[in-house]
């Protein structure tokens, strides 16, 4: 009986470790995509940047920075609803991040203005 328990415990541990490694690998790949996207955005290639950040959140849906960057790319493209959703997700994942909060504040100003225009 103790031998069975040990076996189960080690199996669970093994699964947990392999999951952790897989997650780490996904995060590493996502970080690469995010970095590539940043270089593209700096060069003004926002479509490429958007594609990279969308890939990053597919690889790691818990990566707040990727959502933040994607929201900025959507803003640049005038896709306000998508930008809003991406910012919300970024803030949910990393609620204490002051950069995300600042970006959201600046986005709100523009979004409110666009909404006022549409409401007229």
């Amino acid at each position: 009986m103790p031998a069975l328990k040990k076996l189960i415990a080690s199996a669970v541990l093994g699964v947990a470790i392999s999951a952790t490694f897989a997650q780490a690998a996904d995060r590493k790949a996502a970080v690469e995509q995010v970095s590539f996207g940043i270089d593209a955005a700096k060069a003004g290639l926002w479509r490429e940047a958007t594609y990279r950040w969308e890939r990053a959140i597919e690889l790691d849906p818990t990566y707040a920075a990727a959502f933040n960057n994607l929201a900025i790319a959507y803003e640049q493209a005038g896709l306000f609803e998508k930008a809003k959703q991406a910012y919300q997700k970024a803030a949910e994942l990393d609620p204490k991040n002051t950069y995300i909060k600042q970006n959201i504040d600046l986005f709100k100003e523009i979004n409110d203005r666009a909404n006022r225009q549409n409401a007229r």
């Binding site: 970080v31 700096k42 960057n69 950069y99 600046l106």
Partner: protein
């Protein structure tokens, strides 16, 4: 100002965290126009019902200003035709037995600027709903996008307490500026234009927008009405232009790694 604050707080946050994980990038956010003007090859700023003071010919001045703004900043093809005498065209038909002259319009002198009283504008504004009239105008100019409306420009005065800054010197001769509340008589103008965008092909109204701006000066200050008119129009022009052409708002955001 806001961007500066953002940058300052970002720098503080960076110093606190001690690691470089953010990159500030400039962005240009497009805001779409309120109406799609692409089906129209040209725009005809037809004329406006003038209301309020007779010191400014708001019909003529508004037509001139909007035509030049749409041409230079909106990049549109403008029809440079005569301004429509809209007050005449929109004159309500008096009911049988009623006095023939419209209540607010006075046309005793040909050179005199004809304006309508604020209360008299609504019956004249019914012309914007007259599809046949606008369709005819459209046919004459090759079915353009027609911009018309009314422009109310009225003198205004208000008295009350206002906050002013006053220089004071302490016993050591040091200068400082303190806010002081003083009672003031002020006068100025209210500008309330209503812009109506009409499809020259069908005569249908596509979009209507009304603005209201006011300006007040010290009662002793003498500011010409025309200067006040342009100052107030300047404030609302960006919003007017954004009806037909997209705007770009420049700013910056922080990308994260």
């Amino acid at each position: 100002m806001r961007t500066a604050r953002t940058l300052a707080s970002a720098a503080v946050a960076l110093a606190a965290s001690g690691c470089l994980t953010f990159i500030e990038v400039p962005i240009e956010t497009p805001i779409r126009p309120k109406i799609d003007a692409s089906p129209f090859s040209r725009v005809y700023v037809a004329g406006f019902l003038p209301g309020g003071t007779e010191d400014v010919d708001t019909n003529l001045e508004t037509v001139r200003l909007l035509r030049s703004q749409l041409k230079n900043k909106g990049g549109m093809r403008i029809i440079e035709a005569d301004v429509l005498p809209l007050t005449e065209a929109a004159k309500p038909v008096p009911a049988e037995g009623a006095a023939a002259a419209p209540p607010g319009a006075s046309q005793s002198d040909a050179d005199k600027i004809v304006t309508l009283a604020e209360a008299d504008l609504p019956p004249y504004e019914k012309i914007f709903e007259n599809k046949e009239y606008w369709k005819k105008v459209g046919e004459e100019f090759g079915s353009p996008l027609i911009i018309t409306g009314s422009v109310l420009f009225v003198p205004h005065q208000r008295s009350g307490y206002v906050q002013k800054e006053q220089e004071v010197y302490d016993s050591f001769g040091r200068r400082s500026v303190v806010p002081v509340r003083t009672y003031m008589d002020r006068k100025g103008f209210i500008l309330r234009p209503k812009f109506v965008f009409i499809d020259g092909r069908t005569g249908e109204t596509l979009y209507t927008e009304t603005f209201r701006e006011e300006i007040l000066y010290n009662a002793e200050q003498s500011t010409p009405a025309l200067s006040s008119y342009f100052e107030l129009m300047d404030r609302l022009l960006p919003s007017f232009l954004s009806t037909l052409s997209s705007q770009t708002i420049r700013g910056s955001r922080v990308l994260l790694k």
